[in-house]
């Protein structure tokens, strides 16, 4: 084993699990930000008008913003320290990544939220509740996308695995480490997707039972 991995640290698994916690933390921050920004944007689009068009344009802009590019943009344009109300704020790598995921998160919450609002107006509350599994799906996409943090040196799971792989002398050992990462993330993602499927089916069944006329918003995959 030592020959394969080239002296894996004893606490390596804990390091990776700690890194996954960082990935989850980033995703939670991005999702909270997405709600703060996305819900007002969804509400602004309910009634047609200038405000709806402006909100729609902003949502379209956020939809077209690649997370990875936004991350490097923020990293190089935002000063590492800022003052707000005489408080000194340090912008950490985690904050940068969470902010870079914000356009996707806010766009997705705005679109799903608008769908849900339309369903509510059609008196289909159960269908509107499909918003919740959609948000859950977006959360897992955010966890996946938070791996981009490895590119700016944040100590999240993928970064930890890649650094250990660089120190691993054999190609086989490197692939074993990558496989470990995929398995660990896979357990989280597959369990999460399975749970979402159950919730979605239950909500869809409930919606059908309540109103035969109401159609679900569909399972449009979230863009990253």
């Amino acid at each position: 084993m030592k020959g394969l991995f080239g002296g894996l640290p004893a606490d390596f698994l804990w390091q990776v699990l700690g890194g996954i916690a960082v990935n989850l933390h980033i995703a939670v921050l991005a999702l909270i930000g997405g709600f703060v920004l996305g819900i007002p944007l969804a509400l602004a689009q309910v009634r047609p008008g200038v405000l709806a068009r402006a909100a729609g344009a902003l949502v379209a802009l956020m939809r077209a913003s690649p997370t990875f590019v936004v991350m490097f943009f923020l990293l190089n344009v935002i000063p590492p320290e800022m003052s707000l109300l005489s408080m000194r704020i340090t912008i950490s790598g985690v904050t940068i990544v969470a902010l870079s995921l914000l356009p996707y998160s806010a766009y997705y919450i705005a679109e799903s939220g608008l769908d849900a609002l339309h369903q509510l107006r059609r008196n289909s509350p159960a269908t509107a509740l499909l918003f919740l599994p959609n948000v859950g799906r977006a959360f897992f996409v955010l966890v996946m996308a938070s791996g981009a943090a490895a590119a700016i040196g944040v100590r999240e799971a993928i970064g930890i695995i890649v650094r250990q792989a660089d120190r691993t002398p054999t190609r086989l050992g490197q692939f074993a480490l990558f496989a470990l990462g995929i398995v660990l993330f896979g357990i989280i993602f597959q369990a999460g997707f399975a749970l979402l499927t159950v919730v979605r089916r239950w909500l869809a069944g409930a919606a059908l039972r309540r109103s035969a006329a109401a159609g679900g918003p569909g399972l449009t995959p979230p863009e990253r």
């Binding site: 379209a60 996946m144 996308a145």
Partner: protein
């Protein structure tokens, strides 16, 4: 009367005596054969001139130094092991050198703090007589000041990394992430060898990056790492892998009015090199001595002879620091100035100012467009392939396709790209072309697998509705009904292409980061990058919507 002489006669006698001393000094200077003799004669002549008047502005700087009995030396205050000031205490190799030079000239050393930003202007404005302040002798600076030959130190850009990392030379850095500081002229060499650069603002941040595992490899001036490498804890964990782009360090005086001072300093340095004085100082401060040892050998040997004075070892050329400007650089500068003066917007467009940056910028745009087009094509192909396999009634074909989808859905996209890069390294040559192909394949698999799964699920649903007999053109109808999902994953694919820069694909993000590493400003670079990618994705969104409309019309949904 005998005892009294007229003032006129006294003046004449004085002038004659002065002339005699001058002639004697000049003759001594001409007759001198060793640097020691030449320096002694030069200093004697300067002292004589100083003795005859210190009020004139036209005297050489050396004479003025003799008049003031003080040599004002511009030194840094914040460079560990070279020049560090702690209250009234000064320490470092350059501090020792400054004091030794003043002592050799027979005057007092006055240390004047300077920084990289003001050291040249301090010379030009006469605030200091000489600068000994970590200043590299480069083609860019050579016309601005008079550098003193020989150089007193040489540094190079070195790569520092974890001891366990197998890095032996340029061939090992392709595709690796290397942390560098912004504005480092040598970074473009790293980029040219396929390294992926991560930019930091100060060298101290590089040390912090290493300590916190943010950086696996850092590149910086060897002088900066001198202290760290002499620290046993640091040296146990990290090692110097290799160095490149050597830059000689030179003392400098003002370009005009200091030719005798320049000569005196040059002779002093020749003597210091020959006698090993500089090596002793370097050892005392635990900095590298290889360059100094070579210089000692040269000034004891070939440079000490009349015939050897023209030898390359006795007058090292400046390091090349100039990047060739583009033919439209003046217009770019004019636009930048106009924006600044008229609109108050500070914009720097380094990607348009030098040929090297322009080349990288153009290549980045072309590569990004190819990457987006290739990824979209790969996504469509994989989607159709996996959709077809996962919809087939044969379990032998269906299950591998489903397993592949599960694996790809379990792997964060950046991990899939890393695995693709590792496979590439293991089985093929890592070149810009192969890494682009690997990135296209990985991004196509990531997005195509999800789109393929959507197609398969739709086909299964149609089959369920139509019964066991199915319906004609089942797969095509499944593709058409999955149009919205396919559209979403095509947009995902386009948005994901910049991630390919992480494994070294030479697309625009990577190229602009490289440009930022040797440019003075980077904010504008990243605005350009953001605008470019949003535009590209917006175009893909429009094209994908057209494709969806077409498929939905064929399925009779629109």
């Amino acid at each position: 009367m005998r005892g009294k002489q007229s003032p006129r006669r006294l003046l004449l006698l004085g002038l004659l005596a002065g002339l005699l001393v001058l002639v004697q000094s000049t003759l001594a200077l001409a007759a001198a054969t060793t640097p020691d003799e030449t320096l002694a004669a030069l200093l004697s002549q300067a002292r004589t001139e100083a003795g005859h008047g210190c009020k004139g502005d036209r005297a050489d700087r050396l004479v003025r130094v003799m008049c003031a009995h003080t040599l004002r030396i511009g030194v840094r205050t914040d460079y560990p092991q070279f020049a560090l000031r702690n209250g009234d205490t000064w320490d470092g190799y350059e501090i020792d050198l400054a004091r030794a030079v003043a002592a050799k000239l027979g005057v007092t050393a006055e240390l004047v703090p300077v920084s990289p930003a003001n050291r040249i202007s301090a010379l030009a404005e006469g605030q200091v007589d000489v600068v000994i302040a970590t200043m590299g002798y480069t083609t860019g600076r050579a016309p601005l000041v008079q550098f003193i030959n020989p150089d007193y130190y040489e540094s190079e850009t070195v790569l520092i990394a974890d001891r366990a990392m197998p890095i032996g030379g340029w061939h090992d850095i392709s595709g690796q992430s290397i942390c560098v500081t912004v504005g480092n002229n040598s970074s473009w060499e790293l980029a040219e060898h396929g390294a992926r650069l991560m930019l930091y603002t100060s060298p101290q941040q590089l040390l912090s990056g290493l300590a916190h595992d943010e950086c696996q490899i850092v590149a910086q001036d060897s002088s900066f790492f001198a202290r760290s490498l002499s620290d046993p804890d640091f040296a146990r964990r990290y090692a110097l892998k290799f160095g490149f782009a050597p830059v000689p360090w030179g003392m400098a005086v003002a370009r005009t009015g200091a030719s005798e001072l320049q000569q005196a300093l040059s002779l002093t340095l020749q003597i210091f090199h020959r006698d090993g004085v500089l090596i002793g100082m370097a050892r005392a401060h635990q900095i590298a001595t290889q360059f100094l040892e070579k210089q000692q050998a040269a000034w004891r040997g070939v440079c000490a002879t009349e015939a050897g004075r023209n030898d390359a070892a006795c007058d090292l050329p400046p390091a090349t620091s100039d990047l060739q400007p583009t033919r439209f650089a003046p217009q770019v500068a004019a636009v930048e100035a106009w924006l600044s003066n008229r609109l108050g917007i500070s914009v720097a467009l380094p990607m348009l100012q030098t040929e090297h940056a322009w080349l990288l910028f153009r290549a980045g745009i072309v590569n990004s467009l190819l990457l987006v087009a290739g990824t979209i094509a790969a996504t469509l192909l994989v989607a159709l392939g996996i959709g077809a396999l996962a919809s087939t009634s044969s379990r032998v074909l269906r299950w591998p396709a489903r397993m592949l989808v599960i694996v790809l859905q379990s792997s964060p996209p950046i991990m899939t790209l890393i695995v693709a890069a590792a496979l590439l390294r293991g089985f093929a040559e890592f070149t810009p072309v192969t890494v682009m192909i690997a990135a296209i394949a990985a991004l196509g698999l990531i997005n195509g697998a999800n789109a393929g799964q959507a197609i398969a699920e739709t086909v299964a649903a149609i089959r369920l509705d139509a019964g066991p007999a199915g319906e004609p053109q089942l797969f095509f109808r499944g593709v058409c009904l999955s149009a919205k999902q396919i559209e979403a994953f095509l947009i995902n694919a386009a948005k994901g292409t910049p991630v390919a820069s992480f494994i070294g694909a030479p697309e625009l993000l990577n190229q602009l980061t490289d440009i930022g590493s040797f440019a003075s400003s980077r904010a504008s670079i990243y605005w350009v990058m953001l605008a470019f990618y949003i535009l590209i994705v917006a175009v893909v969104v429009r094209l994908s919507a057209s494709l969806r409309g077409f498929l939905q019309r064929r399925a009779g949904l629109a």
